[in-house]
């Protein structure tokens, strides 16, 4: 096992090293550095788009999921979840186009479309997480004299938190990956470099958009992982 591990590590290191040599030899590093100013500016736009649309999706999605999971709503909740499911089958590009035709060009329609795209995983996971809290926990809480809101805050939400976080994580990953499309309706972001690169047949420019986008997605996922590790109580956190 140890030899396999060290072999893997050796391969990885030499791979990264060779990649570095190739990158340097092909001049791609210089090219990327040439776009550095653009990368910084557009990354900021990218992050702002993700933060606003993702934040709004969390603010709306979690309460919506909670609301749908309430016993009173059980009768309607599955059909509403189906409607949301149908909503996600619409390709993001189509949502962007529709949102443009309705809200025009710019940041607002882009945020709206991104919000729609990342809403469903959050609602779905919040709903599933809450409804799969074992009935006996709710019965125990009920039998001890907790009020419905106390049960929600002290028992249901903490026990569903891991699943809810997984939904938010998925949604943000989708979100970061979709932001480049926002450029097509004038939303800005790293898509500007990617699409311009494609159109002008300039791989360097395209990579200057694509690589930071990929890195951003990894970074956001990593940070969400850290948050999940830190915020979810140890008793219900499979990670620790």
């Amino acid at each position: 096992m140890v030899t396999v591990h060290s072999l893997n590590r050796l391969l990885l290191f030499s791979g990264v090293f060779l990649l570095g040599i190739w990158a340097h030899a092909s001049g791609i590093i210089d090219e990327l550095l040439f776009y550095w100013g653009d990368i910084v500016f557009l990354s900021q736009q990218h992050i702002v788009l993700t933060a606003i649309s993702g934040g709004l999706a969390i603010l709306i999605g979690v309460p919506l999921g909670v609301w749908l999971s309430r016993p009173k709503m059980r009768r309607y909740s599955e059909s509403m979840m189906q409607a949301l499911n149908v909503g996600t089958t619409i390709p993001t590009l189509a949502v962007l186009a529709l949102s443009m035709s309705w809200l025009g060009i710019g940041v607002i329609p882009a945020i709206f479309a991104l919000w729609v795209a990342s809403l469903l995983p959050i609602v779905r996971n919040t709903y599933t997480g809450l409804t799969s809290v074992p009935g006996y926990l709710k019965e125990a809480a009920n039998g001890m004299g907790m009020r419905p809101l106390q049960i929600l805050w002290q028992v249901e939400l903490p026990n569903a938190l891991f699943v809810i976080f997984a939904g938010i994580r998925t949604a943000l990953a989708i979100n970061v990956g979709t932001v480049p499309l926002a450029f097509l309706i004038g939303g800005g972001g790293l898509g500007e470099l990617i699409f311009s690169g494609i159109d002008l047949n300039m791989p360097g420019m395209m990579l200057a958009g694509a690589i930071p986008t990929a890195l951003l997605a990894i970074l956001v996922d990593f940070m969400m992982g850290l948050l999940a590790y830190g915020l979810i109580p140890r008793g219900v956190n499979p990670l620790r």
Binding site: P134, Y136, A140, M146, V155, N159, G235
Partner: protein, 378 residues
């Protein structure tokens, strides 16, 4: 005190009307454990859950300490009742301490007081508070979780406890241990407890009263000994089992069945004295005690008549002794395994207290049937 008056629950289902509890009337005195017993679907759990209104009754009333519970709002009612369920239901997101402090916090206790109480309860449950307070439920064994579940129900010191098959999920060995601990605790706390079970042995062991249900009806409500000795109908007789008289052995302590003020001899007594004592008490053996009264051995009548000298020179070792605090089941089991018809009864420190004989046990268990036979003859 818990009193149920005409408590009824009717479920309307697509398959028709189901009467889950049919005019249940019963009264459990303060400080007693009442076991609700019966096959599954008999209405015992429904009855229990109507007491804290997890299931709202269709009609009828529940009185606690003489007060109609409909005068309390549901939340207050529940906070003043301990509730233990079969799945234990410890909240996995909370530590043991937080779990125990749930009801005290709901009642608005200050944090320090609630924490002191949690530590105190854990110690009472034979769990080291320094080790367990900060643990999460998933880090406990099944038996430990069950103990914490009981501690949580006791947290605010409610006068009434509702327990729905609380020891059902624990393995048989641990269940015995937890039951014993629970009974020992109950001796001190004297809670009024409603306890659902489907296990007749558990009912006999734990209950001061047993209520047997069938198809929503309360069939018999009596002491465990009466349920075993005089089942009200053939259903109950079948339910408690063909060996029900053997089960009664558990209900009687050795101290109640032995003959007290039993004669004994000392090592320095002569064999003649021993022989005359045996003749006087019509038995063929006599326990020899040490200087302070500990059971040391036995002298047999045949030996006492044939030999001369003191008891100390001619005694035999005791094959087995039984503690006076044990139940008759243990005593009978000891008799069987040592092939003897009598046992010397001793206390914790080995002091001789009396004899218990197979004849005596048979006689005692038969007494209740003879009384009834005489009663019906007269």
């Amino acid at each position: 005190m818990i009193r149920l008056e005409n408590l009824t629950k009717v479920f309307e289902t697509p398959g028709g009307t189901i009467v889950a509890a049919d005019h249940i009337d019963m009264e459990v005195p303060e400080g007693e454990i009442c076991i609700l017993l019966g096959p599954s679907g008999c209405g015992k759990t429904t009855t229990l859950k109507m007491i804290n209104r997890i299931i709202p009754p269709t009609s009828g009333k529940v009185f606690i300490g003489g007060k109609d519970t409909t005068t309390y709002d549901t939340v207050t009612l529940r906070r003043n009742m301990g509730y233990v369920i079969q799945q234990i239901g410890l909240f996995p997101n909370m530590t043991v301490e937080e779990n125990i402090c749930v009801v005290p916090r709901l009642l608005g206790w200050d944090g320090a007081r609630a924490k002191r109480r949690a530590a105190e309860l854990l110690e009472m449950m034979a769990l080291d508070s320094a080790v367990f307070l900060k643990r999460y439920p998933k880090e406990l064994s099944g038996g430990q979780q069950q103990r914490v579940g009981v501690a949580r129900a006791l947290a605010a010191d409610p006068p009434v406890m509702l327990m729905d098959e609380p020891f059902g999920a624990v393995d048989p060995i641990n269940r015995e241990i937890i039951q014993d601990e629970f009974l020992k605790m109950q001796e001190k706390l004297r809670k009024t407890i409603m306890f659902v079970s489907h296990d007749i042995d558990e009912a006999v062991k734990m209950g001061d009263k047993v209520a047997i249900f069938r198809a929503g009806k309360l069939e018999q409500f009596d002491s465990p000994d009466n349920v075993l000795a005089h089942p009200a109908n053939s259903f109950i007789a079948d339910f408690v089992g063909g060996d029900r008289t053997l089960k009664r052995l558990r209900l009687v302590k050795v101290s109640e069945a032995m003959n007290p003020n039993a004669p004994c001899v000392r090592a320095e007594d002569s064999l003649e004295k021993a022989a005359s004592l045996m003749a006087e008490h019509d038995q063929e053996y006599m326990v020899m005690v040490g200087p302070r009264g500990r059971a040391r051995g036995v002298v047999y009548l045949s030996v006492a008549r044939e030999k001369r000298g003191t008891c100390g020179e001619h005694h035999f070792g005791l094959k087995a002794t039984v503690n006076v605090r044990e139940d008759l089941r243990t005593a009978v089991s000891l008799m069987f395994s040592h092939d003897v018809a009598w046992l010397a009864c001793v206390d914790e420190e080995g002091f001789f207290k009396g004899y218990i004989t197979q004849r005596g046990i048979t006689h005692l268990l038969g007494a209740t049937y003879r009384d009834v036979a005489e009663g019906s003859a007269a």
